[in-house]
Amino acid sequence: METAAISLKADDFDDRYPILFRGLTRLGWALGLGYDAEDVAQEVLLGGRRQLGQLRDPESLTPWLRRMMVRAASRRRHRRISTPFGAAMAYVPRDRCGSIDLGVAVASLPPRERLAVALVYGLGYSQQEAADAMGITRGGLANALFKARARLARELSEQEQVER
């Protein structure tokens, strides 16, 4: 009986594969994986499928996979060595501020703040979803978002200020 339930979940998982893959790949880009995003997303999905039996609530499949993706991305980044090329690809907002390169400013944020901003504003996650993916509390996420925004606001030049 239990086997049948797991098998059913696996079928459901396979049906959802394209959507899950697309979502995780986008998350991978936001996590700064660059061209590795698809590879890591596939690894996560294959790992997730193998461990489907450990998932108690089918409704939490997506947050569960996102957490796995964040952990996998972290492992992948730690394996990277520093290169003279710096950050090759980054997921950043199109700069509409004018006087500063907001993309560079976002890419220069501390990792936790950058990830919080990318998940909430870039990918449109709710604060709870982003907190779950990052493995932190919602308060911690809100704090990271505020710090990031305060930092970015300070970088807007005086010329950028609108006439009162």
Partner: protein, 279 residues
């Protein structure tokens, strides 16, 4: 009552930035504020300017986002042998000379602005040696070469590991320039050769994406499973479709260069789904 509030009552303290951020996101928030705070936001130039900055910032953050290359290698040296390319090459010469690598500096000058000279299939040995056996060292090697390639998407063809233990990095052009740069860049423990190929990894990926987009059409022709991957070794997109009927083969090849595809029916993508996808 905290100190900030006491000071603000005397008109000496500014509004907390968190409250300003909240108003930037939703102006109606300030309606519930005490009149004194609302007045402060209007009258205080510092708080008002901060609000304007946060409003601008919120507009940008809530706008569209892109995957962008930042702080990458300036490819001018390879693509436009003009004044800027010479200037960059000269700058690199100064940096290289300062680092005491005079030989590298000289070779950069000679190579700057040169066009493609090699034909596909040409191989240049960059680093001789034996590929390390532990996973960490191999990871360092493939990461190094992979990142170099990602910084040159216009000519990068991907890389593979040969049976005799070399990492084979492929490019569609300026192979000598890339070999020279990789020689100065790749760790001595990473045996590497550079080869010239016809198609870039990006071109093959575009083809992969187009096939993925046609998956429903292929399904309507009877395709059950499809798997695709860029095979850097043969510089083609490997495609497995089951069953591979003549109709499906014709559909796959329609409008796609046959020499970019390696079409078969032997394998399948992960979980039996199309392997090709884009974020």
């Amino acid at each position: 009552m905290n100190l900030a509030r006491k000071l603000r009552r005397r008109g000496a303290a500014h509004l907390d930035e968190r409250r300003i951020v909240a108003v930037a996101d939703d102006p109606s928030v300030s309606v519930a504020w005490p009149a004194r705070d609302r007045a402060h936001l209007q009258d205080c130039s510092r708080c008002h300017d901060l609000l304007k900055r946060h409003q601008r910032l919120a507009a940008s953050l809530n706008g569209s986002w892109d995957i962008t290359e930042l702080a990458g290698v300036d490819r001018t040296r390879y693509t436009a042998p003009g004044a800027r390319g010479r200037l960059i090459a000269a700058s690199l010469v100064v940096i290289a000379a300062m680092a005491g690598t005079a030989a590298l500096a000289g070779s950069m000058l000679i190579g700057s602005g040169s066009g493609p000279r090699l034909s596909p299939g040409t191989t240049i040995v960059v680093v001789k040696g034996v590929l390390p056996s532990d996973e960490t060292s191999i990871g360092v090697c493939d990461r190094t070469i992979g990142q170099y390639g990602e910084a040159h998407p216009d000519e990068w063809g991907g890389f593979w590991v040969s049976t005799d233990g070399f990492l084979v990095a492929t490019f569609t052009g300026h192979v000598e320039d890339h070999a020279r740069d990789l020689r100065a860049y790749v760790p001595a423990s990473c045996p590497t050769v550079v080869e010239q190929v016809t198609y870039t990894y990006a071109q093959l990926t575009v083809l992969q994406t187009s096939l993925s987009a046609d998956w429903s059409k292929l399904q309507s022709l009877g395709a059950k499973q499809m798997g695709t991957f860029v095979d850097a070794k043969v510089n083609r997109l490997h495609v497995d479709i089951a069953p591979l009927t003549p109709e499906i083969r014709a559909e796959v090849l329609a409008g796609r260069p046959a020499d970019m595809l390696d079409l078969g029916d032997g394998a399948q993508g992960p979980l039996g789904q199309p392997a090709a996808s884009t974020p």
